[in-house]
């Protein structure tokens, strides 16, 4: 089947239903053929976020720093935690987490937000969640630049060449995020509950992921978690994709907390086997998300 607006002629019938491979190919074509549309949507998105604030794009720098500060104060002052170079420990995980959380948050409503447009113009709807997720890349890049500066200026002892793994880890996370974004964006069209629920689930996910703690039993509160959940519980926590991702980020940027809890070994090679497996899983999720999205896409204009 050809895409109506691109092709000089088109044939639409209730009898034509492409299979999974056909849908994947269509989706790929949609995204590639509409690169420019995605770019327009991203620039509109970025402008929208910065338009009503006094500081405008300064917030890209300030936002992750403030978030880190909040947790820094909470954990080190109130809960009396002492992990060496705690700001870096936190930042290395909170930054990629924030990327994920705001991507999903934007993507969930990306389709339903364009209700009017979808009913009036025929275009590949897949560009909506894709551009919502892609728009966040810019934020992340800024955040990582700040972190790099922080690393070199304040925590030079942590610096190793292993920081170079970060883009690769980010790629795995991106594939995972796009896959999940396509799923939630399409389901949210039919059940708006998803949009409300996802905010809470993501918050829960945050605490279950090694953002404020890590799997090193000496670092902060992990001992208490281990005690509460037992070995089986911890193994389940390790299955979480973000256990793999955030541990990998932290390994590459921060390193590991020593067994005694008062020192650290600087940046390390992340667990590449776990990362590779997660990449395969993420690809599977991307395929699933794409097929589901493309399958229900024709119904969007009717349901919205």
């Amino acid at each position: 089947m050809q895409i109506a607006t691109e092709a000089p002629s088109s044939f639409r019938s209730s009898a034509v239903r492409p299979g999974a491979v056909g849908l994947m190919r269509e989706a790929l074509h949609d995204v590639l053929a509409r690169r420019r549309l995605i770019r327009h949507l991203i620039s509109a998105d970025i402008r929208r976020k910065g338009s009503d604030t006094l500081l405008g794009n300064v917030w890209w720098v300030l936002d992750p720093l403030l978030q880190m500060s909040v947790y820094l104060i909470l954990l080190s002052v109130i809960l009396q935690r002492s992990t060496p170079d705690f700001p870096l420990f936190l930042f290395a995980a909170i930054l990629p987490w924030k990327w994920f959380a705001s991507s999903i948050n934007d993507a969930v409503s990306s389709v339903v937000r364009q209700e009017r447009l979808i009913k009036q113009v025929q275009f590949p709807k897949i560009v909506l969640p894709v551009s919502a997720v892609a728009a966040e890349i810019l934020n992340l890049t800024f955040g990582f630049l700040i972190m790099l500066g922080m690393l070199v200026l304040f925590f030079p002892a942590h610096v190793t060449l292993n920081v170079a793994w970060v883009p690769l880890i980010a790629l795995v996370q991106f594939v995972f995020t796009v896959g999940l974004a396509l799923l939630v964006a399409s389901i949210n069209v039919f059940y708006r509950d998803v949009g409300i629920l996802s905010g809470h689930l993501i918050r829960l996910w945050f605490f279950l992921s090694p953002t404020l703690w890590s799997f090193d039993s000496s670092a902060g509160r992990f001992g208490a978690i281990e005690e509460a959940l037992g070995e089986a519980g911890v193994n389940i926590l390790r299955m979480n994709p973000f256990a793999v991702l955030l541990t990998a980020y932290r390994d590459a940027i921060y390193g590991r907390v020593n067994a005694t809890g008062d020192g650290f070994t600087p940046g390390q090679t992340p667990d590449l086997v776990a990362l590779g497996m997660l990449f395969l899983f993420s690809l599977g999720l991307l395929v699933l998300g794409t097929v589901v999205f493309k399958r229900v896409e024709p119904a969007f204009a009717k349901v919205l």
């Binding site: 509109a44 113009v121 025929q122």
Partner: protein, 293 residues
């Protein structure tokens, strides 16, 4: 192929299961009480027509007859639930002129965004940009964000973008009269130009003068089915007759309810709908009221 659009046995079914803003709770309720109400309805049924190149088709009918749905199917926005639609040529839809606008982008950027949405190559769009800006005639505002525009300026820009495309087949919804008096005159002329340039046109309007002025063929849709197809003047006349009949009957039913002839079980519109389904006789208000809508 000698046709611009061909529809064969076209049907569009809306599932009432997922109408506006479903929630999981309502789905559960429906699971428990599965037989409450109908599960789907046909917005279009057995629609068959062929539009030859050079034809300009007007679609008329009462509210909810399926006019907009038909346009959406022809545009590819909605997939048919049954039957086939074949479109032969590049389609442009001017269903709603400001649908794709983004408030934060400038007028110029919105022109490019609209082009990208419609799948028009950006080089082509860049060539057309100046003529669009000229026609919209909103001066310095073209580089300001859209949220600073007045509604009139927005409408002008929307119209200019929509009619700058150069399609083989043009699908128009009625919302075309926009802007101030001077702009309306200019736009009326422009529509005439676009219509005569397009290979084929489908126009939906409640304004019968548009149908008789711009179309050389008309289709009357009622309850999703084609009731009449042919000369615009005749089809328009039939439509007028039918809507006059409905108006008379509505008044007569209200009158009968007031006088107690018909028990007041529901609102008049519902009573009429129910009676049409069951075939029950209703007062028609006119002595010769035998003509069926």
């Amino acid at each position: 192929m000698s046709f611009a659009i061909q529809a064969r046995d076209l049907g569009v079914r809306y599932s009432l299961r997922f109408t506006k803003k479903t929630s999981i709770r309502r789905s559960f309720t429906r699971l428990l009480k599965p037989d409450r109400g109908e599960k789907s309805f046909w917005a279009l049924r057995e629609v068959t027509f062929t539009l030859a190149p050079g034809e300009s088709l007007g679609i008329i009918g009462p509210n909810g007859a399926g006019k907009s749905t038909l346009l959406q199917v022809l545009a590819g926005i909605i997939m048919p639930s049954e039957g086939v639609v074949e479109v032969n040529g590049h389609v442009s839809t001017l269903l709603h002129l400001q649908a794709g606008f983004d408030q934060e982008l400038s007028g110029r950027e919105n022109i490019m965004l609209a082009g990208a949405l419609m799948g028009i190559d950006h080089r082509v769009m860049e060539q057309r940009e100046e003529s669009i800006v000229d026609f919209a005639d909103i001066d310095a505002f073209i580089d300001a964000p859209l949220r600073t525009y007045s509604s009139g300026m927005r409408a002008k820009l929307g119209f200019s973008i929509a009619t700058a495309v150069d399609p083989d087949i043009l699908l128009l919804d009625e919302v075309l009269q926009t802007g101030d008096e001077a702009f309306r005159e200019k736009s009326h002329k422009r529509i005439g130009e676009v219509l005569s340039a397009a290979k084929a046109v489908v126009l939906v309007s409640h304004d019968m003068s548009w149908i008789t002025e711009f179309c050389n063929r008309a289709i009357l849709l009622e309850k999703g089915r084609i009731v009449a197809d042919g000369n615009p003047d005749e089809v328009v006349a039939l439509h007028m007759e039918h809507s006059e009949f409905r108006k008379q009957r509505y008044r007569a039913v209200i009158k009968a309810m007031r006088s107690g002839e018909i028990p007041v079980t529901a609102r008049p519109k519902q009573v009429i709908r129910e009676a049409e389904r069951t075939g029950r006789k209703l007062p028609t208000g006119s002595p010769q009221g035998s003509s069926k809508p």
